[in-house]
């Protein structure tokens, strides 16, 4: 890491050693100063303020007033908080069940394609560049009671499904849509890992009489285990904070069925103007998520050593 071996050069000039050193340090700090200022002002300050304002009632006009633990009390008495925690866990679980295996499956399949592999890659990644607002607009129509998905269902003899309005379907619809959009990027990461598995391993396994499934089960999947774990953590961290899709598509409805925890924070802040409670919710979320972050750090570090 430390490649700066510039020190001896200045030491070869003893008479200017001291002033040269100070001058060089000055340049270094000068270069770091903007970053330190910006990280302090726009990251550490808000983080610190969040903890502080969770004990205050924030009022932009009359000024803030200290309320002790009242904000936390509000959080634990609000029935919506429990609903939102359940919804968030449900959302994380659904994203695993519906979305997590999809990129792995397609990465293994596409790696086996003898022709047109490039097309498959590009097509899989294409939705990832679709802007969110376009995604919401188009999928609202796709999910429409008279939209194309219901047209297909009807022609298959399945009845109409109200993807957005039906409480049982709304969260599932959101997860399907997000999987459509984002599985391509995870797929490419898996694909790179699958393609870097030495061909000789398969050759040897085949000679030893291993079938196709056995080869996938005992060679391919263990080889991409690191990526799978990493993507699992990243997905959990992302979905535990998810709220934008739920907010834009359904505003937490129908009847709070898609009200995630982060969306509740937004609601407290921008609908009820209760920034103190919103900050308290944020602090509580931080403690819940730190556990996930620590695990991710461990995995990341191990991955870094391997590669």
């Amino acid at each position: 890491m430390e490649q700066s071996t510039a020190v001896p050069i200045s030491q070869s000039k003893p008479q200017t050693q001291r002033s040269g050193k100070i001058k060089r340090y000055m340049w270094g700090y000068l270069f770091l100063l903007p970053a330190i200022a910006i990280f302090t002002l726009f990251l550490w300050l808000p983080i610190f303020k969040g903890v502080m304002s969770s004990f205050y009632t924030i009022d932009f006009v009359k000024g803030d007033s200290f309320v002790g633990l009242a904000n936390y009390k509000t959080v634990f008495q609000d029935a919506d908080v429990l609903v939102s925690v359940k919804n968030t866990l449900y959302y994380m679980g659904l994203a695993l069940v519906i979305g997590f295996w999809v990129p792995i499956l397609f990465a293994v399949s596409i790696s086996e394609m003898r022709r047109f592999q490039g097309f498959a890659r590009v097509a899989a990644y294409l939705p990832y560049v679709v802007p969110f607002v376009v995604l919401y607009g188009v999928w609202r129509w796709l999910y429409d009671p008279v939209g194309p998905i219901n047209a297909v269902l009807k022609s298959l003899g399945i009845g109409q499904i109200s993807f957005m309005v039906d409480r049982a379907w709304s969260m599932i619809s959101i997860v399907i849509m997000e999987t459509w959009q984002s599985f391509g990027s995870a797929m490419l990461i898996y694909l790179a890992a699958v393609l870097s598995v030495p061909r000789e391993w398969y050759e040897a396994a085949e000679i030893d009489g291993a079938g196709v499934w056995q080869r996938i089960r005992h060679i391919t999947l263990p080889a991409i285990r690191g990526q799978i774990l990493l993507m699992l953590m990243l997905q959990l961290i992302a979905t535990s904070q998810g709220f934008q899709t739920q907010y834009a598509m359904l505003d937490g409805g129908p009847n709070n069925a898609t009200l995630t925890y982060a969306l509740l924070i937004v609601r407290y802040a921008f609908v009820r103007q209760d920034y103190g409670v919103a900050s308290a919710l944020g602090v509580l979320m931080f403690f819940a998520l730190s556990i996930l972050a620590i695990i991710q750090f461990r995995i990341n570090n191990r991955g870094g050593v391997e590669s």
Partner: protein, 289 residues
């Protein structure tokens, strides 16, 4: 591409009927997947060309019965697209400048200069990666209000410099540049500023180019945060689309699709054009996601 002598399946496997059918089935599934990926994109383009009555008909048609190219003209004039496009580009350009100046200089200092307490400062930056952004989203909002930045572009530009992930990528890229170059520059009497702008920055163009893709994607995509902290005349395209198109009550569906398609086309074209480059840069992103 690698030569496909064999993958998991060997040529011998493919001669077995059962495996052969499996292979065909797999290709069929992939083909189906590709259609599912492309359909929503194509249909929004085509729906923008249909008469409003046809878009609302059931079952939906794929190709328009009559082609209404004038829809796109109407869509273009529905909201002030050039203004919002300009705002998005302002955000992109400003974020990029801040990234180069703030993070570039900092990562150069961290990577190539001798400074006391260097690792301490580095951890001061990196620690922020472990605090999920959603948890301090609201305090961040309050903070921007307290600083008096609310409504102006500065509220987006300046925080763009507080990106520990970019710093990490930049620093590890600069770690790969040989230190001898800078030593000889120092011997020749170049100042540190000159070393950065004339040596480190030009040599780091590949990583800055990769970052510019991320920065562009953020500027083009982000609608939630800008819609709360930017004033109306500074809002980017995506926030404007959300306000005036997605939430519009009286807007014909075909015009709506035409507007969405206009917003969709630039990133798709950029992607298809720089496809190889972007997919390679993605692996950097994949390290963190």
């Amino acid at each position: 591409m690698k030569t496909m002598d064999r993958g998991i399946l060997s040529n011998y496997d493919l001669k077995k009927p059962a495996t052969r059918w499996l292979y065909y089935l797999m290709n069929l599934v992939i083909l189906l997947m590709m259609c599912c990926m492309v359909y929503p994109i194509l249909i929004s383009l085509l729906n923008g060309l249909k008469a409003n009555k046809e878009v609302n008909s059931f079952p939906p048609t794929f190709l328009p019965k009559e082609w209404h190219f004038e829809n796109y003209k109407e869509a273009w004039n529905y909201i002030d697209l050039p203004l919002y496009f300009k705002n998005t580009m302002m955000i992109f350009a400003g974020n990029m400048v801040v990234t180069v100046l703030v993070l570039g200089l900092a990562s150069y200092a961290l990577s190539k200069m001798t400074i006391p307490f260097k690792s301490g400062i580095y951890y001061y930056f990196l620690m922020t990666l472990f605090i999920p952004a959603t948890t301090y989203m609201i305090p961040n909002f309050i903070n921007l209000k307290d600083l008096g930045l609310m409504g102006s572009f500065a509220a987006i530009w300046l925080p763009a410099g507080a990106n520990a992930f970019f710093l990490l990528l930049l620093k590890s890229f600069m770690d790969g540049i040989h230190v001898e170059i800078f030593e000889s520059a120092r011997i020749d009497g170049a100042s540190e500023a000159r070393s950065f702008f004339q040596i480190a920055f030009p040599l780091s163009i590949p990583i800055f180019a990769t970052l510019s893709i991320f920065v562009f994607a953020t500027a083009w995509n982000d609608w939630f945060w800008p819609s709360f902290i930017l004033s109306q005349e500074n809002k980017p395209l995506s926030a404007a689309i959300r306000d005036f198109v997605l939430n519009a009550r009286r807007l014909d569906l075909n015009i709506r699709f035409a507007i969405l398609t206009i917003v969709l086309i630039p990133p798709v074209i950029i992607f298809l054009f720089f496809q190889k480059f972007i997919l390679r840069g993605l692996h950097l992103g994949g390290v963190k996601g």
